[in-house]
Point group: C2
Chain length 368, copies 2
């Protein structure tokens, strides 16, 4: 595959500073979006009758421009990391499950493996901060910045250096995805405790109270849920005494996770190199919301794959004005909701490319 | 392919009377549904975290029983017919478009062609009542009962003989689908004027006023819309003076269409031969609602592929207590919403069949 025309990078040499993560991100092309709309209106269907599929086709046109008619190669990235806040008993599952699920990904037994195989998506599993030593485990992308974050209830989850490194991991992989010719990337995660981090980020970004931004994660019971809300509330109060003035980067550093930082980095690179970025659930959306906070032009590159059952996901999607493609009551993470949305996006593009026009098919238009 | 175990029919010889359409329809197996639930709970994911996908897998298990683990062959049927009520100016498109779109289906240029190709669904196009003579047009299933219905505003849309013939067309094709080994069928239609028929059926079945059951179809303007509401209201009043006592068959005969009758017949055969039946939009859902009215056990075989933009579709889905898989603002018909839901159903089955269990993968369960 040839690299994007405007790319002059040696992937392995990219070491952008913080500013460089947000540089050169332009919005998608309105000219291409309009061109796509004109074609959509010429296809043999009542005007607008493909609904959201037409919006998706037009958005992908605006992102990909002249590459719209090329096949679009698909990849998914699952970023795994542990969270110090699990000390506070915020999850129904023990911390070891992060490591165990990474092994499950590598042996192809998890939900994301099944969906990626079925929908022909190249799956990449990234250790950006799991609390273990995977050694030279084959099949895993080794980018461990630290064996889990610090406990955000007591201190900032990451140091400045750590958050920059984790952002860089995702940014770099985004650049590599573009160089490899992928046009459509799904972003997912695995990290016991990370709905707690996402809830705290949601409170910090939107000002919502912890009760509205905190869900049951993998399924905590009522007492543990009350504790989780308390932890989110206290962590936000500790790090964002005046939340509206806390920068997205500082929110990420204090309340985020290593996988959340990496996802934010990948979102920024995706927008920079004009990839279509499909978000998964609550946690990847929190990462994207931070990226949008850092560089607002990112928004036009995002597709919300689905709406999860996590309470705060709806808040974040409304904050971003992103309407999800699917709403199937899923709350699994791993990128599953994003990969499940891939056939919908693929359908939108196939309809755009392959349908007959009224004139080519000899079909009469509307009479009024 | 071997025919279903309980089938002892010579497809071409099936000529059931009205009673036979509804005979021998048993509900899906609760035993198999429970078995599937047990397996779903053993897979490496938080309990219930696949949301609707788990319901779908359990429903397909209940329908297919021991065949659950076999690959499921997919077909779509698009039934085309014209409507006498188009005389009343209820559609934005001229009546000729039904014929033109059938030709577009045959030359592979319509939305349903693109989606069926992409999602590996065998597409069948059926002329059950288009107002034309297709001659021996190849690729078309020729079952024209009559060149369009009568104008329901002035008389019953069909005679008793015609409605029985159209039901039989669909029933017979459903039997043939089962014999051919298809396990999952999508049901769609093409017929200028048929949202008017579906709205009238919705009023008759649910008692809803015409204003709530009538949408803009392919896109009528406000004046034409007011006229369409008036036509629906008057037709329902003419044929169902006491709507709660009008039988589903009589509602179908007076207010339906030839394609709607055929779809109802296919739904009945699908339930009889334990196929998974995916509904498309407003019109196929109206056909299914009539079939459920005739034989309530049909309901367990139905999956609502999507929710269309047509106002009455929501009413009918609520009436049937069917929750749609997709909600993408589509209003195209042709079976497009049903075929677009196929990858979701396929995903549910693949997850069920291929995911690792907690014990096989060595992943810890929830701690509380």
């Amino acid at each position: 595959m040839t690299p994007p025309a405007n790319m002059q990078v040696e992937p392995k040499l990219v070491q952008p500073g913080m500013d460089e993560f947000i540089r050169d991100i332009e919005p998608p092309s309105e000219e291409w979006r309009q061109k796509a709309r004109v074609r959509l209106d010429s296809l043999t269907k009542p005007l607008g009758s493909l609904g959201r599929l037409e919006d998706i086709a037009a958005q992908v046109a605006a992102i990909r421009g002249e590459k719209l008619r090329d096949p679009i190669s698909r990849a998914a990235y699952v970023f795994a990391a542990d969270h110090g806040v699990t000390e506070e008993g915020v999850s129904a599952y023990p911390r070891e499950v992060t490591r165990q699920m990474v092994l499950n990904f590598l042996s192809e037994g998890a939900a994301i493996n099944v969906l990626s195989r079925l929908h022909r998506v190249a799956l990449h599993v990234v250790d950006v901060g799991v609390d273990t030593n995977f050694g030279s485990m084959p099949g895993l992308l080794h980018h461990n910045v630290r064996r889990g974050t610090r406990n955000m209830l007591r201190e900032a989850a990451m140091s400045e250096d750590e958050v920059a490194k984790a952002l860089r991991v995702g940014y770099q992989l985004g650049v590599e995805a573009a160089v490899a010719g992928h046009g459509l990337i799904a972003i997912g995660e695995m990290g016991i405790g990370n709905t707690t981090a996402a809830s705290a980020i949601t409170c910090a970004l939107t000002g919502a109270p912890a009760t509205l931004a905190t869900g049951k994660g993998t399924g905590v019971e009522p007492t543990a849920y009350a504790n989780k809300v308390r932890v989110v509330e206290a962590a936000v109060a500790r790090h964002c005494s005046a939340s509206s003035t806390t920068s997205p980067l500082e929110i990420l550093r204090c309340l985020g996770g290593l996988e959340i930082a990496a996802m934010a980095g990948m979102v920024l690179a995706g927008a920079r190199y004009r990839l279509v970025v499909v978000l998964d659930g609550f946690i990847s959306t929190a990462a994207a919301a931070l990226a949008v906070g850092m560089a607002p032009n990112v928004l036009g590159y995002l597709i919300a794959g689905h709406r999860s059952e996590e309470l705060g996901h709806k808040l974040l999607q409304e904050h971003l004005k992103l309407e999800p493609l699917l709403s199937l009551g899923m709350r699994l993470g791993e990128g599953t909701g994003a990969v499940l949305a891939m056939p919908v996006i693929e359908s939108a593009l196939a309809l755009y490319q392959q349908m007959a026009t009224f004139s080519s098919a000899g079909v009469s238009g509307a009479t009024r």
